[in-house]
């Protein structure tokens, strides 16, 4: 039951961040395609935004790790 909960946390908890990172990446690529000179600026903002989206998945991971190892 506990293992099931851990699996469910990771499965459900990563759906949102996955969609978010996909959207950020696609929009970033679009922006670079439209304005290649701004590539470095777009990249910085993109990586920052991806790190925020990733943090949500990391929260799920922390909960899963706490359940697994504590």
């Amino acid at each position: 039951m506990k293992l099931l909960a851990i699996g469910a946390i990771m499965a459900i908890g990563t759906i949102g961040p996955a969609i978010a990172i996909g959207k950020i990446g696609s929009k970033g690529a679009e922006a670079i395609g439209r304005n290649p000179e701004a590539a470095s600026k777009v990249q910085t903002a993109m990586i920052l935004a991806i790190a925020f989206a990733e943090a949500i998945a990391i929260y799920a991971l922390v909960v899963a790790l706490i359940l697994k190892f504590v």
Partner: protein, 247 residues
């Protein structure tokens, strides 16, 4: 399967003050940064040599990056030390945590049947105390900078506003968001670094040779990105807190 502990292992006590293996590496990080700083200050010259040139270029770029957020060179020079200190401290501590020997060198402690390895070193950010401490420093500094820049009354009006029910409720939300900042700061860094540790241990356990290499590269990148994110977020929050209300 090696044992994974979510909290830092206790090594010894000094006057009742527990020293964990994360704390040891955090102190080593601080020591390295202090020594590098002293050496650099001694060798500073008007005509820059090769190393000084490189560092000056790097700092120039970082100052320009801060300028693009704060829109003001004076402000940048005021708040740059805190942001840069957080960046370098987190960066060096993350990279030190990836060195061979960290997490693998230790003493075996026997508990009845099984014996548990107590490592001498552990990545500092893989301990929640470390990340929580930096998050607290960062959030408190943000509020102090805000008070100094716009005045205590204006700053606290953000949290306690009795103009109307809506403003009052917004004040409560601002207060909660301040606490949420601490939590998100500390858990983001802790989660990333600790997850990296677990990932490296498990990959090395499944396939000891060559396979961990790409993951090591990933962890070097993640260590840099997380230090960058931590510093940039602090900078952005400082920029918001020190902005004079103009409406």
């Amino acid at each position: 399967m090696p044992k994974i502990s979510i909290k830092a292992e206790h090594l010894f006590s000094i006057f009742g003050f527990d020293v964990t293996n994360s704390l040891v590496l955090a102190f080593i990080t601080a020591l390295i940064l202090i020594i590098l700083g002293i050496i650099f200050k001694r060798n500073i010259r008007l005509m820059p040599g090769r190393v000084q040139n490189l560092l000056e270029y790097a700092f120039e770029e970082m100052l320009n990056l801060c300028d693009s957020v704060l829109n003001n060179r004076e402000k940048t020079e005021k708040y740059f030390p805190l942001v840069a200190t957080i960046f370098f401290f987190v960066l060096i501590s993350n990279w030190l945590g990836l060195l061979p020997g960290v997490g693998s060198l230790g003493i075996l402690e026997v508990h009845g049947e099984e014996s548990i390895l107590i490592p001498f070193f552990r990545a500092p950010a893989a301990d929640l105390n470390f990340t929580l401490a930096i998050a607290l420093i960062s959030v408190i500094a943000i509020n102090i900078f805000g008070i100094v820049a716009v005045g205590a009354v204006t700053h606290f009006k953000k949290f306690f506003n009795f103009k109307g029910p809506i403003q009052f409720f917004i004040g409560i939300l601002e207060f909660i968001s301040e606490i949420a900042k601490i939590i998100s700061f500390s858990f983001r860094l802790f989660g990333n670094v600790f997850a990296g540790e677990v990932l490296l241990i498990i990959i090395a356990f499944l396939l000891p040779f060559i396979a961990p290499l790409p993951f090591l590269f990933l962890e070097i990148f993640v260590g840099f990105i997380q230090a960058f994110v931590f510093a940039m977020l602090t900078l952005v929050f400082v920029a918001i807190a020190t902005l004079e209300e103009s409406h």
